[in-house]
Amino acid sequence: MTLNVARIRKDFPILERKVHGKQLVYLDNAATSQKPKQVIDELVRYYENYNANIHRAVHTLGEEATAAYEAAREKVRAFINAPNIESVIFTRNTTEAINLVAYSWGRANIHEGDEILLTQMEHHSNLIPWQMLAKEKGATVRYVPVTPQGTLELNGLENLFDARTKMMALPHVSNSLGTINPVEKIAVETRKRGVMLLVDGAQGAPHLPVDVQAIGADFYAFSSHKMLGPTGIGVLYGRQQLLEEMEPFMGGGEMIRKVTFEGATWNDLPWKFEAGTPNIADAIAFGTAIDYLSDLGMDNVRQHEAEIVAYAIDRMSKIDDIILYGPPAKDRGGVVSFNFPDLHPHDIGTVLDTHGVAIRSGHHCTQPLWRNLGVSGSARASFYIYNTPEEVDKLVDAVKSARQFFARPR
Protein backbone atom coordinates (compact mmCIF):
# COMPACT_ATOMS: atom_id res chain seq x y z
CA MET A 1 0.00 0.00 0.00
CA THR A 2 1.13 3.53 -0.75
CA LEU A 3 0.27 4.90 2.70
CA ASN A 4 1.27 3.47 6.05
CA VAL A 5 -2.35 2.90 6.99
CA ALA A 6 -1.60 1.06 10.23
CA ARG A 7 0.24 4.11 11.51
CA ILE A 8 -2.43 6.51 10.22
CA ARG A 9 -5.20 4.56 11.95
CA LYS A 10 -3.52 5.08 15.32
CA ASP A 11 -4.17 8.83 14.91
CA PHE A 12 -7.94 8.35 14.69
CA PRO A 13 -9.41 7.54 18.11
CA ILE A 14 -12.89 6.92 16.71
CA LEU A 15 -11.67 3.95 14.66
CA GLU A 16 -11.32 2.07 17.98
CA ARG A 17 -15.09 2.24 18.42
CA LYS A 18 -17.35 -0.75 18.40
CA VAL A 19 -20.80 -0.60 16.81
CA HIS A 20 -23.31 -3.33 17.63
CA GLY A 21 -20.41 -5.16 19.26
CA LYS A 22 -18.29 -5.08 16.09
CA GLN A 23 -15.26 -3.06 15.14
CA LEU A 24 -16.42 0.08 13.33
CA VAL A 25 -15.77 0.02 9.58
CA TYR A 26 -16.30 3.64 8.57
CA LEU A 27 -17.11 3.91 4.86
CA ASP A 28 -19.13 7.13 4.79
CA ASN A 29 -16.25 9.48 4.11
CA ALA A 30 -17.95 11.31 1.26
CA ALA A 31 -20.47 12.53 3.87
CA THR A 32 -17.82 13.52 6.39
CA SER A 33 -14.37 12.24 7.28
CA GLN A 34 -13.16 11.26 10.73
CA LYS A 35 -10.70 13.51 12.58
CA PRO A 36 -7.15 12.70 13.69
CA LYS A 37 -6.23 13.45 17.29
CA GLN A 38 -3.90 16.21 16.08
CA VAL A 39 -6.99 18.14 14.87
CA ILE A 40 -8.99 17.38 18.03
CA ASP A 41 -6.01 18.42 20.20
CA GLU A 42 -5.66 21.69 18.29
CA LEU A 43 -9.27 22.62 19.12
CA VAL A 44 -8.60 21.97 22.80
CA ARG A 45 -5.28 23.85 22.68
CA TYR A 46 -7.00 26.89 21.19
CA TYR A 47 -9.83 26.99 23.73
CA GLU A 48 -7.51 26.27 26.68
CA ASN A 49 -4.68 28.62 25.76
CA TYR A 50 -5.44 31.48 23.40
CA ASN A 51 -9.20 31.77 22.83
CA ALA A 52 -9.88 35.40 21.87
CA ASN A 53 -11.59 37.33 19.13
CA ILE A 54 -9.43 38.17 16.14
CA HIS A 55 -8.48 41.37 14.28
CA ARG A 56 -9.71 43.48 17.19
CA ALA A 57 -7.88 43.28 20.47
CA VAL A 58 -4.41 44.56 21.26
CA HIS A 59 -3.93 42.00 24.00
CA THR A 60 -1.70 38.94 23.72
CA LEU A 61 -4.43 36.35 23.35
CA GLY A 62 -6.07 38.35 20.56
CA GLU A 63 -2.77 38.61 18.74
CA GLU A 64 -2.08 34.90 19.07
CA ALA A 65 -5.57 33.94 17.89
CA THR A 66 -5.32 36.33 14.92
CA ALA A 67 -1.91 34.97 13.96
CA ALA A 68 -3.13 31.36 14.13
CA TYR A 69 -6.29 32.12 12.14
CA GLU A 70 -4.33 33.87 9.40
CA ALA A 71 -1.68 31.13 9.46
CA ALA A 72 -4.47 28.64 8.73
CA ARG A 73 -5.48 30.75 5.72
CA GLU A 74 -1.90 30.64 4.47
CA LYS A 75 -1.92 26.83 4.85
CA VAL A 76 -5.09 26.67 2.73
CA ARG A 77 -3.53 28.98 0.16
CA ALA A 78 -0.45 26.80 -0.19
CA PHE A 79 -2.53 23.59 -0.22
CA ILE A 80 -4.51 24.69 -3.30
CA ASN A 81 -1.68 26.86 -4.72
CA ALA A 82 -3.77 30.03 -4.75
CA PRO A 83 -1.69 33.04 -5.82
CA ASN A 84 -2.31 35.03 -2.63
CA ILE A 85 -4.33 35.13 0.59
CA GLU A 86 -6.67 37.77 -0.85
CA SER A 87 -8.25 35.03 -2.95
CA VAL A 88 -8.87 32.64 -0.02
CA ILE A 89 -12.10 33.32 1.86
CA PHE A 90 -13.23 31.33 4.88
CA THR A 91 -16.90 30.34 4.77
CA ARG A 92 -19.06 27.98 6.80
CA ASN A 93 -18.80 25.18 4.20
CA THR A 94 -18.96 24.49 0.46
CA THR A 95 -22.65 25.34 0.38
CA GLU A 96 -22.07 28.79 1.83
CA ALA A 97 -19.17 29.39 -0.57
CA ILE A 98 -21.40 28.58 -3.57
CA ASN A 99 -24.23 30.71 -2.21
CA LEU A 100 -21.77 33.57 -1.78
CA VAL A 101 -20.93 33.44 -5.49
CA ALA A 102 -24.56 33.00 -6.55
CA TYR A 103 -25.51 35.98 -4.43
CA SER A 104 -22.66 38.42 -4.88
CA TRP A 105 -21.51 37.63 -8.41
CA GLY A 106 -24.75 36.14 -9.71
CA ARG A 107 -27.13 38.88 -8.68
CA ALA A 108 -24.98 41.52 -10.35
CA ASN A 109 -24.15 39.62 -13.52
CA ILE A 110 -26.97 37.20 -14.38
CA HIS A 111 -29.85 38.84 -16.22
CA GLU A 112 -33.09 37.84 -17.86
CA GLY A 113 -32.52 35.38 -20.70
CA ASP A 114 -29.03 34.40 -19.53
CA GLU A 115 -28.17 30.74 -19.14
CA ILE A 116 -26.50 28.94 -16.25
CA LEU A 117 -24.92 25.64 -17.25
CA LEU A 118 -24.81 22.85 -14.66
CA THR A 119 -24.55 19.05 -14.90
CA GLN A 120 -26.97 16.26 -14.12
CA MET A 121 -24.62 15.03 -11.38
CA GLU A 122 -24.90 18.20 -9.29
CA HIS A 123 -25.12 17.95 -5.51
CA HIS A 124 -28.14 19.95 -4.33
CA SER A 125 -25.73 22.54 -2.89
CA ASN A 126 -24.48 23.36 -6.39
CA LEU A 127 -27.98 23.19 -7.86
CA ILE A 128 -30.44 25.00 -5.61
CA PRO A 129 -28.49 28.31 -5.35
CA TRP A 130 -28.46 28.54 -9.15
CA GLN A 131 -32.12 27.56 -9.52
CA MET A 132 -33.00 30.26 -6.99
CA LEU A 133 -30.89 32.82 -8.88
CA ALA A 134 -32.37 31.83 -12.25
CA LYS A 135 -35.90 32.11 -10.91
CA GLU A 136 -35.24 35.53 -9.46
CA LYS A 137 -33.62 36.85 -12.64
CA GLY A 138 -35.66 35.09 -15.32
CA ALA A 139 -32.57 33.16 -16.42
CA THR A 140 -32.55 29.51 -17.49
CA VAL A 141 -30.63 26.51 -16.18
CA ARG A 142 -29.38 23.81 -18.53
CA TYR A 143 -27.78 20.52 -17.55
CA VAL A 144 -24.93 18.61 -19.20
CA PRO A 145 -26.21 15.01 -19.43
CA VAL A 146 -24.59 12.07 -17.66
CA THR A 147 -23.81 8.96 -19.72
CA PRO A 148 -24.86 5.49 -18.53
CA GLN A 149 -21.18 5.00 -17.55
CA GLY A 150 -21.54 7.90 -15.15
CA THR A 151 -19.36 10.43 -16.98
CA LEU A 152 -20.37 13.80 -18.38
CA GLU A 153 -21.43 13.86 -22.02
CA LEU A 154 -18.78 16.28 -23.22
CA ASN A 155 -18.44 15.21 -26.85
CA GLY A 156 -17.47 18.40 -28.53
CA LEU A 157 -16.76 20.72 -25.63
CA GLU A 158 -17.18 23.64 -28.03
CA ASN A 159 -20.86 22.74 -28.52
CA LEU A 160 -21.50 22.81 -24.80
CA PHE A 161 -22.09 26.53 -24.62
CA ASP A 162 -24.39 28.87 -26.44
CA ALA A 163 -24.33 32.61 -26.77
CA ARG A 164 -26.46 33.08 -23.66
CA THR A 165 -24.29 30.94 -21.35
CA LYS A 166 -22.89 33.23 -18.66
CA MET A 167 -21.97 30.82 -15.92
CA MET A 168 -21.01 27.18 -15.55
CA ALA A 169 -20.79 25.22 -12.31
CA LEU A 170 -19.88 21.58 -11.87
CA PRO A 171 -18.41 19.18 -9.34
CA HIS A 172 -14.71 18.32 -9.47
CA VAL A 173 -15.68 14.82 -8.31
CA SER A 174 -19.25 13.45 -8.18
CA ASN A 175 -20.26 12.59 -4.63
CA SER A 176 -22.72 9.94 -5.85
CA LEU A 177 -20.78 8.24 -8.66
CA GLY A 178 -17.17 9.17 -7.89
CA THR A 179 -16.63 10.49 -11.41
CA ILE A 180 -13.60 12.78 -11.71
CA ASN A 181 -14.57 15.49 -14.17
CA PRO A 182 -12.06 17.06 -16.61
CA VAL A 183 -12.30 20.51 -15.03
CA GLU A 184 -9.02 21.74 -16.56
CA LYS A 185 -10.27 21.10 -20.10
CA ILE A 186 -13.62 22.70 -19.34
CA ALA A 187 -11.86 25.74 -17.86
CA VAL A 188 -9.96 26.25 -21.13
CA GLU A 189 -13.30 26.53 -22.95
CA THR A 190 -15.02 28.76 -20.38
CA ARG A 191 -12.06 31.16 -20.37
CA LYS A 192 -12.09 31.31 -24.16
CA ARG A 193 -15.77 32.29 -24.10
CA GLY A 194 -15.79 34.56 -21.09
CA VAL A 195 -18.07 32.15 -19.23
CA MET A 196 -17.64 32.20 -15.46
CA LEU A 197 -16.64 28.79 -14.02
CA LEU A 198 -17.25 27.55 -10.48
CA VAL A 199 -15.91 24.15 -9.45
CA ASP A 200 -17.56 22.45 -6.48
CA GLY A 201 -14.51 20.90 -4.88
CA ALA A 202 -16.23 19.32 -1.87
CA GLN A 203 -15.15 15.87 -3.11
CA GLY A 204 -12.08 17.16 -4.94
CA ALA A 205 -9.86 18.94 -2.42
CA PRO A 206 -10.02 16.09 0.17
CA HIS A 207 -8.96 13.42 -2.31
CA LEU A 208 -6.92 14.86 -5.20
CA PRO A 209 -3.97 17.20 -5.50
CA VAL A 210 -5.63 20.55 -6.27
CA ASP A 211 -3.88 23.48 -7.93
CA VAL A 212 -6.49 26.16 -8.53
CA GLN A 213 -4.22 28.04 -10.91
CA ALA A 214 -3.58 24.93 -13.00
CA ILE A 215 -7.28 24.11 -13.03
CA GLY A 216 -8.00 27.65 -14.13
CA ALA A 217 -11.50 27.97 -12.68
CA ASP A 218 -12.78 31.34 -11.50
CA PHE A 219 -14.09 29.90 -8.23
CA TYR A 220 -13.29 26.73 -6.31
CA ALA A 221 -15.25 25.78 -3.16
CA PHE A 222 -14.64 23.09 -0.52
CA SER A 223 -15.28 22.07 3.09
CA SER A 224 -12.95 21.25 5.96
CA HIS A 225 -15.05 18.46 7.46
CA LYS A 226 -14.60 16.13 4.49
CA MET A 227 -10.80 16.42 4.76
CA LEU A 228 -10.01 15.59 8.39
CA GLY A 229 -10.95 19.04 9.71
CA PRO A 230 -13.86 20.22 11.86
CA THR A 231 -17.36 20.97 10.62
CA GLY A 232 -18.44 24.57 10.20
CA ILE A 233 -15.49 25.86 8.18
CA GLY A 234 -15.07 25.91 4.42
CA VAL A 235 -13.26 27.82 1.73
CA LEU A 236 -14.07 29.85 -1.33
CA TYR A 237 -11.16 30.45 -3.64
CA GLY A 238 -11.92 33.18 -6.17
CA ARG A 239 -9.91 35.07 -8.75
CA GLN A 240 -8.86 38.21 -6.96
CA GLN A 241 -10.07 40.62 -9.62
CA LEU A 242 -13.57 39.10 -9.51
CA LEU A 243 -13.65 39.24 -5.75
CA GLU A 244 -12.57 42.89 -5.85
CA GLU A 245 -15.47 43.71 -8.18
CA MET A 246 -18.09 41.79 -6.20
CA GLU A 247 -20.26 43.34 -3.52
CA PRO A 248 -20.16 41.71 -0.07
CA PHE A 249 -22.34 38.70 0.68
CA MET A 250 -23.18 39.55 4.29
CA GLY A 251 -22.82 42.77 6.21
CA GLY A 252 -21.59 43.22 9.76
CA GLY A 253 -18.41 43.59 11.74
CA GLU A 254 -15.02 42.63 10.32
CA MET A 255 -16.02 43.29 6.69
CA ILE A 256 -16.08 47.09 6.97
CA ARG A 257 -13.44 49.82 6.78
CA LYS A 258 -15.35 52.94 7.80
CA VAL A 259 -18.92 53.12 9.01
CA THR A 260 -21.10 56.22 9.39
CA PHE A 261 -24.85 56.60 9.87
CA GLU A 262 -25.02 57.29 6.14
CA GLY A 263 -23.15 54.20 4.93
CA ALA A 264 -19.93 52.26 4.93
CA THR A 265 -16.90 51.28 2.91
CA TRP A 266 -15.64 47.73 2.70
CA ASN A 267 -12.62 46.07 4.19
CA ASP A 268 -9.88 44.63 1.99
CA LEU A 269 -9.98 41.09 0.66
CA PRO A 270 -10.44 38.50 1.97
CA TRP A 271 -12.09 40.02 5.07
CA LYS A 272 -14.66 41.87 2.92
CA PHE A 273 -16.44 38.51 2.67
CA GLU A 274 -16.01 37.43 6.31
CA ALA A 275 -18.67 39.38 8.20
CA GLY A 276 -18.92 38.84 11.93
CA THR A 277 -16.71 36.84 14.24
CA PRO A 278 -15.56 33.92 12.12
CA ASN A 279 -15.21 30.28 13.14
CA ILE A 280 -11.76 30.86 14.63
CA ALA A 281 -11.16 27.54 16.39
CA ASP A 282 -12.31 25.41 13.50
CA ALA A 283 -10.31 27.42 10.96
CA ILE A 284 -7.15 26.90 13.03
CA ALA A 285 -7.84 23.17 13.43
CA PHE A 286 -8.56 22.98 9.70
CA GLY A 287 -5.01 24.25 9.23
CA THR A 288 -3.83 21.29 11.30
CA ALA A 289 -5.85 18.92 9.08
CA ILE A 290 -4.15 20.44 6.04
CA ASP A 291 -0.75 19.89 7.67
CA TYR A 292 -1.70 16.26 8.19
CA LEU A 293 -2.74 15.76 4.56
CA SER A 294 0.30 17.67 3.27
CA ASP A 295 2.62 15.46 5.33
CA LEU A 296 1.06 12.39 3.70
CA GLY A 297 1.22 14.05 0.29
CA MET A 298 -1.92 14.43 -1.79
CA ASP A 299 -0.44 12.32 -4.61
CA ASN A 300 -0.13 9.48 -2.10
CA VAL A 301 -3.65 10.08 -0.80
CA ARG A 302 -4.96 9.83 -4.35
CA GLN A 303 -2.89 6.72 -5.04
CA HIS A 304 -4.12 5.01 -1.86
CA GLU A 305 -7.76 5.69 -2.71
CA ALA A 306 -7.31 4.50 -6.28
CA GLU A 307 -5.88 1.22 -4.93
CA ILE A 308 -8.70 0.74 -2.41
CA VAL A 309 -11.41 1.59 -4.94
CA ALA A 310 -9.92 -0.73 -7.58
CA TYR A 311 -9.90 -3.54 -5.01
CA ALA A 312 -13.46 -2.73 -3.87
CA ILE A 313 -14.81 -2.66 -7.43
CA ASP A 314 -13.03 -5.91 -8.24
CA ARG A 315 -14.46 -7.70 -5.20
CA MET A 316 -17.94 -6.17 -5.35
CA SER A 317 -18.42 -6.77 -9.07
CA LYS A 318 -18.30 -10.50 -8.29
CA ILE A 319 -21.35 -10.36 -5.98
CA ASP A 320 -24.40 -11.89 -7.71
CA ASP A 321 -26.93 -9.42 -9.15
CA ILE A 322 -25.07 -6.32 -7.91
CA ILE A 323 -25.48 -3.14 -9.93
CA LEU A 324 -22.41 -0.89 -9.73
CA TYR A 325 -22.58 2.75 -10.84
CA GLY A 326 -19.90 5.05 -12.10
CA PRO A 327 -16.77 4.93 -14.25
CA PRO A 328 -13.78 2.54 -14.00
CA ALA A 329 -11.57 2.83 -10.90
CA LYS A 330 -8.88 4.88 -12.65
CA ASP A 331 -11.40 7.62 -13.48
CA ARG A 332 -13.05 7.91 -10.12
CA GLY A 333 -12.48 9.14 -6.59
CA GLY A 334 -13.05 7.07 -3.48
CA VAL A 335 -16.73 6.31 -4.04
CA VAL A 336 -18.52 3.06 -4.91
CA SER A 337 -22.30 3.30 -5.38
CA PHE A 338 -24.30 0.11 -5.77
CA ASN A 339 -27.77 -1.43 -5.73
CA PHE A 340 -29.53 -4.75 -5.99
CA PRO A 341 -32.66 -5.17 -8.12
CA ASP A 342 -34.77 -6.44 -5.22
CA LEU A 343 -33.23 -4.67 -2.26
CA HIS A 344 -33.65 -1.08 -1.13
CA PRO A 345 -30.48 0.87 -0.15
CA HIS A 346 -31.92 1.60 3.30
CA ASP A 347 -32.43 -2.02 4.04
CA ILE A 348 -28.85 -2.72 2.94
CA GLY A 349 -27.63 0.13 5.15
CA THR A 350 -29.47 -1.16 8.21
CA VAL A 351 -28.12 -4.69 7.85
CA LEU A 352 -24.58 -3.37 7.25
CA ASP A 353 -24.84 -1.26 10.38
CA THR A 354 -25.46 -4.37 12.46
CA HIS A 355 -22.09 -5.58 11.09
CA GLY A 356 -20.47 -2.33 12.25
CA VAL A 357 -20.14 -1.19 8.62
CA ALA A 358 -21.21 2.45 8.14
CA ILE A 359 -22.22 3.35 4.60
CA ARG A 360 -24.64 5.92 3.21
CA SER A 361 -27.92 4.93 1.63
CA GLY A 362 -30.32 7.17 -0.21
CA HIS A 363 -30.05 9.86 -2.84
CA HIS A 364 -26.85 11.51 -1.47
CA CYS A 365 -28.36 14.95 -2.20
CA THR A 366 -28.41 14.25 -5.95
CA GLN A 367 -32.09 13.42 -6.44
CA PRO A 368 -32.36 14.36 -10.15
CA LEU A 369 -29.32 12.23 -11.03
CA TRP A 370 -30.85 9.08 -9.53
CA ARG A 371 -34.29 9.81 -10.99
CA ASN A 372 -32.58 9.88 -14.39
CA LEU A 373 -30.94 6.52 -13.69
CA GLY A 374 -34.38 5.14 -12.87
CA VAL A 375 -33.86 4.52 -9.16
CA SER A 376 -34.46 6.60 -6.04
CA GLY A 377 -30.90 6.26 -4.78
CA SER A 378 -28.11 3.84 -3.99
CA ALA A 379 -26.01 2.33 -1.26
CA ARG A 380 -22.67 4.12 -1.23
CA ALA A 381 -19.35 3.12 0.28
CA SER A 382 -16.76 5.91 0.28
CA PHE A 383 -13.15 5.57 1.32
CA TYR A 384 -10.35 7.65 2.79
CA ILE A 385 -6.76 7.47 3.97
CA TYR A 386 -7.43 5.12 6.90
CA ASN A 387 -9.45 2.47 5.05
CA THR A 388 -7.89 -0.92 4.39
CA PRO A 389 -8.47 -3.84 1.99
CA GLU A 390 -9.57 -5.85 5.06
CA GLU A 391 -12.36 -3.34 5.56
CA VAL A 392 -13.38 -3.83 1.94
CA ASP A 393 -13.56 -7.55 2.70
CA LYS A 394 -15.82 -6.85 5.68
CA LEU A 395 -18.03 -4.68 3.47
CA VAL A 396 -18.32 -7.44 0.89
CA ASP A 397 -19.14 -10.06 3.56
CA ALA A 398 -21.77 -7.76 5.09
CA VAL A 399 -23.35 -7.05 1.70
CA LYS A 400 -23.51 -10.76 0.95
CA SER A 401 -25.09 -11.44 4.33
CA ALA A 402 -27.69 -8.71 3.69
CA ARG A 403 -28.64 -10.44 0.47
CA GLN A 404 -28.88 -13.78 2.22
CA PHE A 405 -30.98 -12.33 5.00
CA PHE A 406 -33.61 -10.95 2.63
CA ALA A 407 -33.56 -13.97 0.32
CA ARG A 408 -34.16 -16.36 3.21
CA PRO A 409 -37.40 -18.29 2.85
CA ARG A 410 -39.88 -17.40 5.60
Binding site: H20, G21, K22, H344, P345, H346, D347, T350, V351, T354, H355, S361, G362, H363, Q367, W370, S376, G377, F405, F406, R410
Partner: protein, 152 residues
Protein backbone atom coordinates in the same frame (compact mmCIF):
# COMPACT_ATOMS: atom_id res chain seq x y z
CA UNK B 1 -17.75 -13.26 14.37
CA UNK B 2 -18.62 -15.91 16.98
CA UNK B 3 -21.65 -18.08 16.53
CA UNK B 4 -23.34 -16.27 19.43
CA UNK B 5 -22.68 -12.82 17.93
CA UNK B 6 -24.09 -14.04 14.68
CA UNK B 7 -27.30 -15.26 16.34
CA UNK B 8 -27.68 -12.01 18.26
CA UNK B 9 -27.34 -10.03 15.08
CA UNK B 10 -29.83 -12.23 13.26
CA UNK B 11 -32.28 -11.84 16.16
CA UNK B 12 -31.97 -8.06 16.04
CA UNK B 13 -32.66 -8.03 12.33
CA UNK B 14 -35.45 -10.57 12.65
CA UNK B 15 -37.16 -8.27 15.13
CA UNK B 16 -36.99 -5.38 12.66
CA UNK B 17 -37.82 -7.32 9.53
CA UNK B 18 -40.55 -9.62 10.85
CA UNK B 19 -41.99 -12.10 8.40
CA UNK B 20 -45.27 -10.22 8.08
CA UNK B 21 -43.40 -7.04 7.08
CA UNK B 22 -41.40 -8.81 4.38
CA UNK B 23 -44.56 -10.56 3.22
CA UNK B 24 -46.29 -7.21 2.65
CA UNK B 25 -43.14 -5.87 0.97
CA UNK B 26 -43.06 -8.79 -1.48
CA UNK B 27 -46.82 -9.08 -1.90
CA UNK B 28 -48.23 -5.59 -1.49
CA UNK B 29 -51.99 -5.23 -0.80
CA UNK B 30 -54.08 -2.45 -2.32
CA UNK B 31 -51.18 -1.27 -4.47
CA UNK B 32 -52.42 0.68 -7.49
CA UNK B 33 -54.98 3.34 -8.24
CA UNK B 34 -58.68 3.85 -7.46
CA UNK B 35 -61.12 4.56 -10.27
CA UNK B 36 -62.70 7.49 -8.46
CA UNK B 37 -60.68 8.62 -5.45
CA UNK B 38 -62.26 11.28 -3.25
CA UNK B 39 -58.77 12.57 -2.57
CA UNK B 40 -55.14 11.58 -2.92
CA UNK B 41 -51.98 12.83 -1.32
CA UNK B 42 -48.29 12.32 -2.06
CA UNK B 43 -46.00 11.93 0.92
CA UNK B 44 -42.22 12.29 0.67
CA UNK B 45 -39.41 11.59 3.04
CA UNK B 46 -36.84 14.08 1.76
CA UNK B 47 -34.03 12.57 3.81
CA UNK B 48 -34.13 9.20 2.14
CA UNK B 49 -36.36 9.58 -0.89
CA UNK B 50 -39.20 7.29 0.21
CA UNK B 51 -42.40 8.10 -1.69
CA UNK B 52 -45.95 7.04 -0.91
CA UNK B 53 -49.16 8.28 -2.53
CA UNK B 54 -52.41 7.39 -0.76
CA UNK B 55 -55.78 7.48 -2.55
CA UNK B 56 -58.98 7.33 -0.50
CA UNK B 57 -62.58 6.89 -1.49
CA UNK B 58 -65.07 8.01 1.16
CA UNK B 59 -68.74 7.02 1.25
CA UNK B 60 -71.09 8.07 4.05
CA UNK B 61 -68.28 8.79 6.47
CA UNK B 62 -66.59 5.47 5.81
CA UNK B 63 -63.42 4.59 3.98
CA UNK B 64 -65.01 2.57 1.18
CA UNK B 65 -61.71 1.96 -0.60
CA UNK B 66 -58.05 2.85 -0.33
CA UNK B 67 -54.99 2.32 -2.51
CA UNK B 68 -51.35 3.28 -2.48
CA UNK B 69 -48.46 3.64 -4.88
CA UNK B 70 -44.88 4.44 -4.11
CA UNK B 71 -41.29 3.37 -3.88
CA UNK B 72 -38.93 3.07 -1.00
CA UNK B 73 -37.49 0.73 1.58
CA UNK B 74 -39.24 -2.38 2.86
CA UNK B 75 -40.38 -0.61 6.03
CA UNK B 76 -42.03 2.34 4.26
CA UNK B 77 -43.77 0.22 1.64
CA UNK B 78 -44.92 -2.61 3.90
CA UNK B 79 -46.22 -0.10 6.43
CA UNK B 80 -48.35 1.42 3.64
CA UNK B 81 -49.60 -1.99 2.57
CA UNK B 82 -50.41 -3.07 6.13
CA UNK B 83 -52.15 0.24 6.75
CA UNK B 84 -54.50 -0.18 3.80
CA UNK B 85 -55.60 -3.56 5.15
CA UNK B 86 -56.10 -2.17 8.62
CA UNK B 87 -58.27 0.78 7.59
CA UNK B 88 -60.40 -0.47 4.71
CA UNK B 89 -64.10 -0.22 5.51
CA UNK B 90 -63.58 1.62 8.80
CA UNK B 91 -65.32 4.88 9.66
CA UNK B 92 -63.24 8.00 9.14
CA UNK B 93 -63.36 8.64 12.89
CA UNK B 94 -61.98 5.18 13.63
CA UNK B 95 -59.28 5.65 10.99
CA UNK B 96 -58.21 8.94 12.52
CA UNK B 97 -58.10 7.31 15.92
CA UNK B 98 -55.93 4.53 14.54
CA UNK B 99 -53.55 7.04 12.94
CA UNK B 100 -53.09 8.66 16.34
CA UNK B 101 -52.60 5.33 18.10
CA UNK B 102 -50.17 4.03 15.50
CA UNK B 103 -47.97 7.11 15.40
CA UNK B 104 -47.94 7.21 19.23
CA UNK B 105 -46.93 3.56 19.29
CA UNK B 106 -44.06 4.27 16.89
CA UNK B 107 -42.93 7.14 19.10
CA UNK B 108 -42.65 4.69 21.98
CA UNK B 109 -46.09 4.52 23.58
CA UNK B 110 -47.09 1.08 24.82
CA UNK B 111 -50.70 2.02 25.46
CA UNK B 112 -52.09 0.93 22.11
CA UNK B 113 -54.85 -1.66 22.21
CA UNK B 114 -53.30 -4.90 20.89
CA UNK B 115 -56.59 -5.90 19.32
CA UNK B 116 -56.90 -2.60 17.47
CA UNK B 117 -53.28 -2.84 16.29
CA UNK B 118 -53.39 -6.43 15.10
CA UNK B 119 -50.58 -7.10 12.59
CA UNK B 120 -49.40 -3.51 12.87
CA UNK B 121 -47.75 -4.42 16.16
CA UNK B 122 -45.05 -6.10 14.05
CA UNK B 123 -43.75 -2.63 13.16
CA UNK B 124 -42.71 -1.89 16.76
CA UNK B 125 -39.38 -3.59 15.97
CA UNK B 126 -38.56 -0.42 14.01
CA UNK B 127 -38.48 1.59 17.24
CA UNK B 128 -35.00 0.26 18.00
CA UNK B 129 -33.79 1.83 14.74
CA UNK B 130 -34.67 5.51 15.28
CA UNK B 131 -33.70 6.68 11.80
CA UNK B 132 -36.18 4.22 10.29
CA UNK B 133 -39.24 5.33 12.31
CA UNK B 134 -40.04 7.98 9.71
CA UNK B 135 -40.13 5.24 7.09
CA UNK B 136 -42.84 3.44 9.08
CA UNK B 137 -44.97 6.54 9.72
CA UNK B 138 -44.74 8.08 6.22
CA UNK B 139 -47.87 6.33 4.88
CA UNK B 140 -49.83 7.23 7.98
CA UNK B 141 -49.03 10.94 7.86
CA UNK B 142 -49.85 10.86 4.16
CA UNK B 143 -53.20 9.19 4.88
CA UNK B 144 -53.94 11.90 7.42
CA UNK B 145 -53.32 14.56 4.76
CA UNK B 146 -55.47 12.69 2.23
CA UNK B 147 -58.35 12.58 4.74
CA UNK B 148 -57.95 16.30 5.40
CA UNK B 149 -58.22 16.97 1.68
CA UNK B 150 -61.21 14.65 1.33
CA UNK B 151 -63.15 16.43 4.05
CA UNK B 152 -62.69 19.92 2.56
Amino acid sequence: MTQEDFRKQEAELDDLYRDIILDHYRNPRHKGHLAKPTASHEGLNPLCGDEVTIEVQLEDGRLADVAYTGSGCSISQSSASMMTEAIEGKSVDDVRHLIGEFTAMMRGSDEADPEEMGDLEALTGVRKFPVRIKCATLAWHTLDEALNEASV
